[in-house]
């Protein structure tokens, strides 16, 4: 059972920092100042002159009689042998340091990472970030549905509020019977919500740059989806424009299996965000 992307545990492991749950997602606070300090990146430095030419990957072909290079270092002169030994040392050190850093990155916080966390982060971010807490420590046991509604100005200057659209249920229906679910159906909204939760406090106030980015992102997804659902037309019978949108989440426990004696409440709980104004067409996302 590996498949799981984070997010699942973000809400479940009480002792985990929520913000770190996204797989390829970058942590700003750390990476912002990521000037590699004392170590080079893995395997790169001194990456000696190999990296062969794409044309010929195999043994050297351009020399008359087939010289077998794999007769090893013995065929080389002393300076050549020294180069090989140096290359071996550089690669060995690079591999060990990279694996050590990666290990510390995926390991729980410990004595070493408390002391040298900065060095580990400098090495790992931005390109080697990873998260393999797949469905761990516990799989997500709640269905979280993201719902949205819009306030639409109709043709005569009045405003109409639409009903709630269950966008996650739409995703769920799109995934049903689908051998190849798209990231737009399976990840986009779900992970945007995780991102929002990770960057907001319980009062729904954004924390830092990422907080405001996540709000704009979520709002733009909702606009796109409501537009696709044609909420505007449904509310006004054509014409009109969305002025504000509101998002809420509906969280309900997955009912325990029939063969289990467990009882959990299946009453859903809601988290309602404030209304967000929608900028006029064209002034959107790029601006802020």
């Amino acid at each position: 059972m590996d498949a799981y992307d984070e997010g699942a545990n973000a809400r479940h492991g009480p002792d985990e920092p929520v913000g770190r749950s996204a797989p390829a997602d970058q942590v700003l606070s750390v990476a912002a100042s990521a000037e590699p300090l004392d170590q080079g990146p893995p395997l790169d430095q001194g990456l000696p002159p190999d990296q062969g030419l794409p044309p010929d990957q195999g043994p050297p072909l351009d020399q008359g009689p087939p010289v077998d290079p794999r007769s090893g270092i013995a065929a080389l002169s002393l300076p050549g042998q020294i180069v090989v030994v140096l290359a071996l040392a550089v690669v060995a050190v690079g591999v060990c340091v990279h694996l050590g850093m990666t290990f510390l990155h995926v390991a729980p916080t410990n004595t070493v990472t408390r002391e040298h966390g900065k060095a580990v982060d400098d090495w790992i971010y931005p390109e080697f970030e990873q998260n393999w807490k797949l469905f761990a420590p516990n799989p997500l046991q709640q269905n979280i549905s993201i719902q949205a509604r819009a306030e639409v100005r109709d043709g005569e200057g009045g405003t109409v509020t639409t009903g709630w659209y269950d966008l996650s249920a739409e995703d769920g229906r799109a995934i049903d019977g689908n051998l190849l679910p798209s990231h737009t159906q399976q990840n986009e909204l779900r992970r945007a919500w995780d991102f929002f939760l990770a960057t907001h406090d319980t009062e729904n106030r954004p924390v830092g740059l990422r907080g405001s980015l996540s709000e704009t992102y979520l709002r733009r997804i909702v606009e796109l989806r409501l537009d696709r659902d044609d909420a505007v037309r449904a509310a006004t019978g054509g014409g009109g424009a969305v002025e504000r949108v509101q998002v809420r989440s509906r969280t309900s426990n997955v009912p325990p299996p029939e063969w289990s004696r467990e009882k959990v409440s299946t009453t859903p709980s809601y988290r309602e965000l404030p209304w967000w104004p929608v900028p006029a067409a064209g002034a959107g996302g790029g601006a802020r």
Partner: protein, 403 residues
């Protein structure tokens, strides 16, 4: 003491004399490039929404995030629609060419640029599968992953045969490709687009410079020595990268397993039931109900999953046990692909698992594949191509050494 130093020198000889695991590296090259290729084709209708300049995660939002995290993406070079389409098309093309093993080193670099560019552009639409591809696309650049099952290997064999017949073989495509990539690199660097984290730009320049060296060594040298030297060093780098890839796969399983042990649901044996009943991971609800109908079965699968994940890295010390676990894990991922609706995640994980497949099995697989291809070609009225073998199988090297 004597035994120890003998073992060390044997180890050193082994990693310096050949690029190990030709079949394993070829199979992961094919696996990862196929996964990414299929993903890009599947998302073709949704490409703008996921990665395009006007998607929900707009160019402006990405720009603010990337200015802070310095991740590498060529999509930030322009917010134009056409640039985005070009990058997406190049990502598809490079995956296909890497799959076939055409000019593999260069294609592996372009492949990496494609993966990093798209994924770093929209980090919030990915999942574990994207994460695997992200890392492996970087590691693949360091490997000689086209020693077998590739157009490069076929071309090398033909060139060798031609040379034995006394013909001159000149390669024009390689230098042309090198000039084009050099032109692009210089233009981009002069335009100041390579700012941000220095790792990926440095890697691009290093590979480019190394290719020039390789070409010069093959052409100019009167003795064969520079070419042999480069070949040995390339082998060492390859072997280091192969080790990193294998260790990365072990880290994935170890992390997934050890963190699960701490979870109450994995302890009480019900964990597997829950994902099967999440809206986002249940494409076949009836199948999920069937699979979780028996509490005992769910518990066995739950415990088995943790057991296999935790145990896997340790089983590498025993070939037979390792192969059994490998078969189990590949099967489980194949099931996950369908039951949880995660085909690309599963494909990426199966590709990563494949690095541990035994050479004998891979050669048999290659044999079946080439026979199937020949049958197809014969039906199409073309002559079959000879089967590709590694210049030297690792077994022979191993046995032959140390005497």
């Amino acid at each position: 003491m004597n035994r120890f130093s003998l073992a060390v020198s044997r180890g050193i000889a082994r990693v310096t004399e050949a690029a190990l695991g030709p079949y394993q590296t070829a199979v992961i090259r094919i696996g990862f490039s196929a996964t990414w290729l299929l993903f890009l084709l599947r998302e073709l209708p949704h490409r703008s929404e996921l990665y395009g300049p006007d998607g929900p995660w707009s160019w402006g939002l990405a720009e603010q995030l990337i200015r802070a995290n310095e991740a590498f993406t060529v999509l930030m070079w322009s917010d134009g629609r056409i640039w985005f389409e070009i990058v997406y098309a190049l990502a598809i093309l490079s995956s296909a060419l890497l799959l076939l093993g055409w000019r593999t080193r260069t294609m592996s670099v372009v492949f990496m640029v494609g993966v990093l560019s798209l994924q770093n552009r929209s980090v919030f639409v990915g999942d574990g599968g994207d994460n695997v591809l992200h890392l492996m696309s970087v590691y693949l650049v360091f490997t000689r992953c086209a020693q077998v099952w590739s157009l490069d290997a076929r071309r090398a064999a033909r060139a060798r045969a031609a040379r034995e017949r006394g013909e001159r073989v000149t390669d024009r495509t390689g230098p042309a490709l090198w000039c084009v990539s050099g032109f692009v690199l210089i233009a981009v660097t002069l335009a100041g687009r390579m700012e941000g984290d220095w790792l990926i730009p440095a890697l691009l320049w290093t590979v480019w410079a190394a290719q020039a060296l390789w070409w010069l060594a093959g052409r100019r040298a009167t003795s064969g020595e520079p070419r042999i030297l480069l070949d040995v060093v390339a082998g060492i780098v390859h072997n280091g990268a192969l080790l990193v890839i294998m260790a990365e796969a072990c880290l994935i399983y170890a992390t997934a397993g050890w963190y699960k042990i701490q979870g109450s649901r994995w302890q009480d044996g019900t964990a597997v039931y829950y994902p099967l009943h999440l809206e986002y991971f249940s494409p076949w609800p009836a199948l999920a109900d069937l699979l979780s109908a028996s509490g005992t079965l769910v518990m066995l699968v739950t415990y088995g999953t943790v057991l296999v994940q935790v145990a896997f890295p340790f089983t590498l010390f025993n070939r037979r046990v390792k192969n059994v676990l490998l078969a189990l894990m590949i099967t489980e991922h194949a099931v996950i692909a369908v039951v949880l609706g995660l085909p690309f995640f599963s494909l990426a994980m199966i590709a990563a698992d494949a690095v541990f497949l035994p050479t004998s099995f891979l050669r048999r697989l290659g044999g079946w594949a080439s026979r199937a291809r020949d049958r197809l070609l014969r039906r199409g009225g073309r002559t079959p191509v000879p089967e590709q073998h590694a210049p030297e199988s690792p077994e022979t090297t191993h046995v032959g050494f140390g005497t």
